[in-house]
Each structure stands twice: as structure tokens, then as C-alpha cells.
Amino acid sequence: MKDKLRTYITTELIKDPTYPLTDDEVIMGTLIDSFSLVQVAMFIEDTFGAHFDDSELTVENMGTLNKMVANIQAKLQS
């Protein structure tokens, strides 16, 4: 899951597949802008079946790869 997200973010959003994105690196703001948030949420829903409301698209929830994965897993288990 994490690697799928990493590949998506580096190729589609950062446009640099060689970018060494780490698990704890802050993605939102520095690497992707707010216009990309909805895009990430749609990718997550299509790929993993977890739906996030707009109010959940925050730095606390989605700021890093680790946070994204934890929140997706929490969604899928509930």
C-alpha cells in the first residue's frame, strides 16, 4: 500500500520518479499543493476503497505516507 502511494505521488504529482520520498516526509504543502488533495483522495478511494470526506483531508491525517497508510487502514477496518 505504502509503495503504491509512493509511486503515485512521485510519478503523478512530483513528476520525478527518482525522488527519494521517505515514509515520514511531510508531503502536503511542500511536495503537493492543496489542489492535489482531492486527486490523492480519489486515488486512495479507487485503489484501496477507503473514502475520505473533505474535512478529513488535513495535514494531521494525510501529511506523510505513514499517516496516510495508518488512516487508510483504520478506515478499512472500521
Binding site: 525522488y19 502536503m28 511542500t30 482531492v38 480519489m42
Partner: protein, 578 residues
């Protein structure tokens, strides 16, 4: 004051212009206190605000400001999010005859230290008299604003002194037609770096002329998610509807960008007829909402979708129309506008009375000879979308670099003269003199005229426009010089069109010595972080290159355009050009 025959006509027209915005406010409160001026849409639902309630709240701010020592003509800065408080604070300052200016709010992306320092220096330099902010920001902001002798007060929206009688304020009439009503921000600048001073007269004239250009009628309803620190949001998405008694359905940009469907549902619920959007929003709306989120959406009421403030892509219009025709959107509702804070807002408007004009021109001649010649045969062509004709009392010229008139279809700098122009840049006579001469304002934007219609080919000196936000490449380059491992002065930044998103991407090239992947990754990260923290935009491409990759001019400066061409060709595999 004329009080008859207003049910069928809008109140401010070319033949009926109140002297000041406050005269119009008084008329609205006296004659239409119970009419809805704003429907504020938030996650909690909708709040209807009548003119009475609106100006009652504004009067509380006026009273609090006055109690804090603010007098007519004083500058008041609003450090507030897109909220009702921002609307009331803005009008509250105006009720006093003070001059409000909206400062972009601290977002979680910006570096707080840098942000507060910029707030401090602008407030000190501009002799701001009062700042209005939130309780949660006040404790952090206050220490940064100590020892500024000109600053009288920092007001907190939750602790406003009680009081303020709207009728008493409106009876005072503290402003004359040529007094400054408020400051807007010039493109690419933030805060008060280049505050555009607009008189009451200029704003009223703009509202009269632009309302006529879009055939504004009392049946219209305006929907907007636009930020108010930008002219499109402040004028089209706030001042004009409030002054013209047109209901305004208002959303926050922070809400909309996370949940774009709210705009279309708001248009449906309120039968909205007008909505201004920067070009990227057409692609965003067309591609970032799922079908199931569009259930019940009905866009038949939408008579003009007005594309403004970014270069207009014909392809974005096509994408938008294709997606939303099924929901009742009419392709003939696609219109365009060319606007800038220095003219209060609109300069031209197209597509209202007749479909938008498209001009298919020869790409090579446009690029190399700077002439727009209709394309023939198989020659590579580019489709230019007209921005329409000048609005009433606004003249447009296209001039060469000696400021001499150019013939039709020749690309040059756009100059304008109107009755809604800026008085000048606040505390910046130097900057004012650079762009104004003989009553003309020289925009720095490039374009051509054909058949009386204006076509924009390029914005101010390499300006990058990302999602409606203006960024100067020099500002980005200046951020990068002291990053360890980057050659000082050996960086360049520019915009790269992204047709998929309908906007530009920021690209940065920096010369570095190291070949070490880890060091390069660290430099890459640092560049991205600095750009985000100071511009709130994202650098899409960060391209690190070895020494001597960048092309320089004969005087040793990095040649931004030549490097952009090289990047497009070598890195993105494109043929260059715009």
C-alpha cells in the same frame, strides 16, 4: 436619491452613480433592510445574512476600531480567514472612512516566522493604524508587532467593544468620492508591498461599467468561492453583488478546494446565474468530482461562467462543457474577462452577447514575428480565446517598447485608460511613476487587438500563474541562493503550461556540484520546502543540473526564457513555445 423603478433595474448604472460606497450602503440599509445580501455556505450549512444584519455587524467593527483610535483615512489590515468576520471587518473600516486591506491568512504551509516578519515589516512601513485578527492568532502575532509607534491597536474579533449604531455611522458620511475606499494587492505581490489605492469613485465606476458589460439584472444570483485578497474575489465575488443588491452565495476557497462539488450544488440550490473562475477551476471541476457526487446538480440557471485571472485555454472550456452539458450547462455560457487590481477589476469582457471569438493563428509567426496571423493550411496553429471588448469608459491600446501604438494583430504591451483606475500605489510614488504616464496605465501584460477584441499572449515579466495565484520567478530565485550546495545566482524559475490541469506548473533549475544522490535529494527537498513556505505554491519540477548547464546572457545573467526553452526541449521533450 431615486427610490422608484428599482424593482426592474439594478441600482448602480452608467446613468446612476452614487458618490461613495457609503452612500450606496445607506440606500441599501434604508430601502432593503430585509433583503438577503449574502448566503454564507460552510460545512455546518448555510447562513442567510440580510442587509440590516450585515451592516449592523459592520458597525460593531467600526465602533471597535474607532474606540481603538482609528480615524478616517487610517489604514486597517485584516488578518482573517475567509469568513463572515472578514466581510464585516472590511465594511466596518469603510463605515469609519478608514481604509481596509486584506492580508493573506497564515496557512499551515507557510513558515510562521517568515509570515509574521513580513506582516511586521509591512505594517511598520505602511503606517498601519489597526490590525484585526482572531483570538488564536493574536497571542502569536502580538509579540511580532511590538514597538511599531504608528500601530494603534490589535483587535481580536471575539473581544470587540460592544456598541456601534449603523444609522449613526451611515449618517456621518466621512468619505468623499475621491478618497481612497480600500487597498487591493497588485498581482504577484502580497500584503502592502504594492497596495493599489482605489477611490470610491473608481469602484463605483467599475461597478457601473462592468455591470452593464455583463448585463447584470436584479434576477441574477452570484456564486463564488474566490479568495477576497484577490481582485476577482473582492470585486466580482463580494463588492459588486453587495452594492448591486444581487444575492451572493459565498463559499470559502479552503472548503471548495477540498470539496469542489459544493460550488455546483450551491448554483443548483440558489439558481445562481453568474460565477467567476480562474482557468484551472474548469479543469478541476471537470476532473475532480465523481458522478455520484453530482446527483441533483442542475446548471441550467448558469448564464455566464466567466473565465478570468489566468490565461484562458480553449481546451479547458471544452473539457468543462463536455462534462457538464449533461447537467444542464450551456456551452454559450462560457465567457472571458481580462482584469487587474489596478483597474479595480475588469478591463474587457467577452462572450455575453455573442459566443466567444476564437482566433486560430499561425504559431511560428506568433512566436517569432510577434504577429497574430490567421493560420492557413497545415502550419502549426494555436487557438487564442478572445477576452472580449473593453468595458464602458475604458480604452485599450497595444504599444511597442517605446510606448508607440502598434497596428492590429501585432503583439505588444497592453495599456489602458479608464474611469476606474488606481489613484496610485500606496506609499510607492516610484512604482506608480513606472507604470503610469499621461493618464495611461501600462499593464506589463502582452497581447494584441483584432476586430476590436483583446487577446492576451503573455503576462507581466515572466509572471507564473499557478491555480490563479501570481508568482514572480525572481521571488523564487531569491529564496534559493543560500541553500548549501546550490551555486548562488545559478538558478532559474519559470512557468510550464500544464494543459491537463489548465494552469501552469512551477519549474526550477538549479546548478549543483554534487553527484551524490543523498546530497542532491537534500537540496531538492530544501528547494521545495522553501518555495512552499514562502509562496504557498508547489514547485512541480525541481531539476538539478551540473555546472554550466544554464544559459547566460552576455552580461552574465541567467537567461530565464532561453533556459525555459532548453528545459522544455531537453527535459520534457516538447517543442518549446507557449
Amino acid at each position: 436619491m431615486i427610490k422608484t423603478a428599482l424593482t426592474t433595474e439594478i441600482p448602480i448604472r452608467p446613468d446612476r452613480r452614487p458618490a461613495t460606497l457609503l452612500d450606496q450602503a445607506r440606500w441599501l440599509v434604508e430601502t432593503h433592510p430585509d433583503a438577503t445580501t449574502i448566503v454564507f455556505v460552510s460545512r455546518e450549512g448555510e447562513r442567510l445574512i440580510t442587509y440590516r444584519a450585515f451592516f449592523h455587524e459592520a458597525a460593531r467593527y467600526a465602533y471597535a476600531l474607532e474606540s481603538a483610535g482609528v480615524r478616517p483615512g487610517d489604514l486597517v489590515v485584516l488578518v482573517l480567514q475567509h469568513s463572515e468576520e472578514l466581510l464585516y471587518g472590511f465594511w466596518g473600516a469603510m463605515l469609519l472612512g478608514a481604509v481596509p486591506s486584506i492580508f493573506p491568512f497564515l496557512s499551515d504551509k507557510l513558515d510562521p516566522e517568515r509570515y509574521f516578519e513580513s506582516v511586521r515589516s509591512l505594517i511598520a512601513l505602511s503606517e498601519v493604524k489597526a490590525v484585526i485578527t482572531y483570538p488564536d492568532l493574536e497571542p502569536t502575532l502580538r509579540p511580532h508587532l511590538e514597538n511599531i509607534p504608528t500601530l494603534g491597536a490589535i483587535l481580536n474579533v471575539e473581544h470587540l467593544a460592544p456598541g456601534g449604531d449603523v444609522a449613526a455611522y451611515l449618517a456621518r458620511n466621512p468619505a468623499q468620492a475621491d478618497d481612497t475606499a480600500f487597498l487591493q494587492h497588485s498581482s504577484g505581490s502580497t500584503g502592502l508591498q504594492k497596495g493599489v489605492m482605489l477611490s470610491h469613485r473608481a469602484v463605483i465606476n467599475q461597478v457601473a461599467s462592468y455591470s452593464a458589460a455583463i448585463r447584470l439584472s436584479p434576477d441574477d444570483v452570484i456564486a463564488s468561492w474566490l479568495p477576497l485578497y484577490h481582485d476577482m474575489g473582492l470585486i466580482a465575488g463580494f463588492m459588486m453583488p453587495v452594492l448591486q443588491k444581487i444575492p451572493l452565495v459565498l463559499m470559502s476557497p479552503f472548503h471548495w478546494v477540498r470539496d469542489p462539488k459544493i460550488l455546483l450544488h450551491a448554483i443548483t440550490r440558489h439558481r445562481a446565474t453568474l460565477c467567476w473562475l480562474p482557468n484551472f477551476a474548469y479543469n478541476f471541476l471537470a476532473t475532480r468530482i465523481r458522478d455520484d457526487a453530482l446527483q441533483g446538480v442542475d446548471l441550467r440557471s448558469w448564464r455566464a461562467a466567466i473565465n478570468c485571472s489566468e490565461p484562458v485555454y480553449a481546451e479547458s472550456h471544452r473539457t468543462f462543457a463536455e462534462r457538464f452539458v449533461a447537467y444542464g450547462f450551456r456551452p454559450e455560457a462560457l465567457t472571458t474577462c481580462y482584469a487587474m487590481a489596478e483597474n479595480t477589476f475588469a478591463v474587457t469582457q467577452g462572450g455575453i452577447d455573442a459566443p466567444l471569438t476564437l482566433d486560430v493563428v499561425d504559431r511560428r509567426i506568433l512566436m517569432e514575428e510577434r504577429r497574430a496571423v490567421p493560420a492557413t493550411g497545415d502550419a502549426p496553429a494555436v487557438t487564442m480565446v478572445s477576452c472580449g471588448r473593453p468595458i464602458l469608459n475604458c480604452e485599450v491600446r497595444v504599444v511597442d517598447d517605446q510606448r508607440r501604438d502598434l497596428p492590429e494583430r501585432h503583439v505588444g504591451e497592453i495599456a489602458l485608460r479608464s474611469d476606474s483606475m488606481l489613484t496610485g500605489y500606496y506609499h510607492r510614488p516610484d512604482a506608480t511613476a513606472e507604470v503610469m504616464a499621461d493618464g495611461w496605465y501600462f499593464t506589463g501584460d502582452m497581447g494584441y487587438l483584432a476586430g476590436g477584441e483583446l487577446y492576451i499572449t503573455g503576462r507581466k515579466k515572466d509572471l507564473i500563474i499557478v491555480g490563479g495565484k501570481n508568482i514572480y520567478p525572481q521571488d523564487i530565485e531569491n529564496l534559493l541562493n543560500d541553500i548549501p550546495g546550490v551555486h548562488p545566482g545559478r538558478t532559474t524559475a519559470f512557468g510550464v503550461p500544464n494543459p491537463q490541469l489548465g494552469t501552469e506548473d512551477i519549474a526550477i533549475i538549479a546548478e549543483v556540484d554534487t553527484e551524490d544522490p543523498e546530497q542532491r535529494a537534500a537540496i531538492n527537498r530544501e528547494i521545495r520546502a522553501r518555495v512552499a513556505q514562502s509562496t504557498e505554491a508547489t514547485a512541480r519540477y525541481v531539476h538539478l543540473v551540473g555546472p554550466r548547464w544554464l544559459i547566460k546572457t552576455s552580461s552574465g545573467k541567467v537567461a530565464r526564457r532561453a533556459n525555459r526553452e532548453k528545459f522544455l526541449k531537453e527535459v520534457l521533450g516538447q517543442n518549446g513555445g507557449d
